[in-house]
Amino acid sequence: MGKPGFPALRPDGRVRKGAAVPKKPLFTLSLCGEAAYKTDMQPSSNNLSDSDLELLSAYIDNALSVAERVNLERRLAADPRLRAELEQLQATTRLLRQLPPVPPPRSFTLDPAPAPRPAPVFRLSWFMQLGSGLAGLALVLLATVQLLASAPWAVGMAPAAAPAPVVLEVSPTGTTTSSTDESNVPAATPAPAAGIASTPFEAPPQPHATAPASSDTSAAPASADSARQSAPEAPATAGAAQAPPAEVKPPPAPRPGFPAGLTLTLGLALIALALAWRFIAR
């Protein structure tokens, strides 16, 4: 049966309005009268497999390989049920293609003035964000170092810092063996801490006028040493052992904690700002 009537079933590719349609148009918009699209669609064998449906669908789009197409055309020629399916699917796609485009209700062009210029804003914000983030981080690091160095006065933080115990050994009554224990950190701290704390970074050469020059300078390097190199305990303790006489003298200065705290706050604020900007900016 196939050959004579068959060409009508060939895939028609992208048929547009007005293009030639296969012999028996199932739906035709141009014809009036309901019969034009009402008929021919009733009975259908709905039990095609998914793979057959896919074959038919690809056949409509001319997307089968030669072998697949030849094979399918052979089946179509022999199977009216399959052919009816194809015709209905073709009719469906034809209807979809004939669906007239909807004219847009307005123009969607962007207004040049308020339109955000993406690139510059984007880069600037990135730069600022990165800059303030890094600055904040640097400040926090600085403050941390400062706090570590001056650990004794910052009682709560002392145990975490390596140099702290070494310095602390100085403070108690001179019995170095017992003082290595961290438990007596809080008790020992106040007086010597303030004296040593201010020395390393604020004014290394002559921190306190009240303290005797000789002993104070010996104490300062010792603490500076201990702050910088945390590992070597022997030299530090040795230096510290000479210090005790001096340490009692300087009265606790109230202000050494201030710069570190301020630096830390500032640094945290900058980091917070950098993070917040990310959300504000979008």
Partner: protein, 198 residues
């Protein structure tokens, strides 16, 4: 043509709004139609279309070659999916939207040179197809629209939807079959669409 488009894209990447607007004029009808067919609602389609172009302009610096149209339609498709998802959370909106297509948006189909019943038929048919499209699952609908309404090739559809070719083909065939079933049922009782489709 393609090189002109590439030039406009490049200018747009440098922040040239006017160049970008030329791209908008080139593609706004296509984007709007895609959104309209996806959402079945003129107002929502206009909103999503505008959203699409704004997002495209913002993200243009990140566009690295390829087919601009596919890139743009991908943004539009994603925006439509977002809107549909939001709608599912608030079902009342989708009911309104389905009703809306009955009057306004279809008025463009009226053609004064046609006989009245011809116009009526055409409108009814278009409405039937729209309703058929509306009842397809979202992932099938987008593929059917891109392929059969907009006439794009499988490869570009795969790029737009982010699915592979096999998935595109199977969604298309299932979508077409389902639409065929819908139309076939409707053809018997054309006036019953509204009661049947829920």
């Amino acid at each position: 043509m393609a090189s002109e488009e590439a030039r406009l894209v490049e200018a747009g990447q440098r922040g040239d709004v006017e160049a970008f607007n030329q791209l908008v004029r080139l593609y706004e009808a296509r984007v709007y139609n895609l959104c309209y067919r996806m959402l079945g609602d003129a107002d929502a389609a206009a909103d999503v279309t505008q959203e699409t172009f704004i997002a495209a302009y913002r993200n243009l610096p990140r566009f690295r070659g390829g087919v601009f149209r596919a890139w743009l339609l991908r943004i539009a498709t994603n925006a439509c999916h977002d809107t549909l998802r939001a709608r599912k959370r608030r079902p009342a909106v989708s009911l309104d939207a389905a009703q809306e297509s009955e009057s306004g948006p279809l008025s463009y189909l009226a053609d004064t040179t046609e006989a009245p019943d011809e116009t009526a038929l055409r409108r009814e048919l278009a409405r039937a197809i729209e309703q058929g499209l509306a009842q397809l699952p979202d992932d099938q609908r987008v593929v059917v629209i891109l392929s059969d309404v907009q006439g794009l090739a499988y490869e570009e559809i795969a790029e737009i939807t982010g699915a592979n070719l096999g998935t595109v083909k199977s969604r298309l065939s299932r979508g077409r079959a389902r639409l065929r079933d819908f139309l076939r049922a409707g053809e018997l009782l054309p006036s019953k669409f509204r009661h049947d489709d829920e």
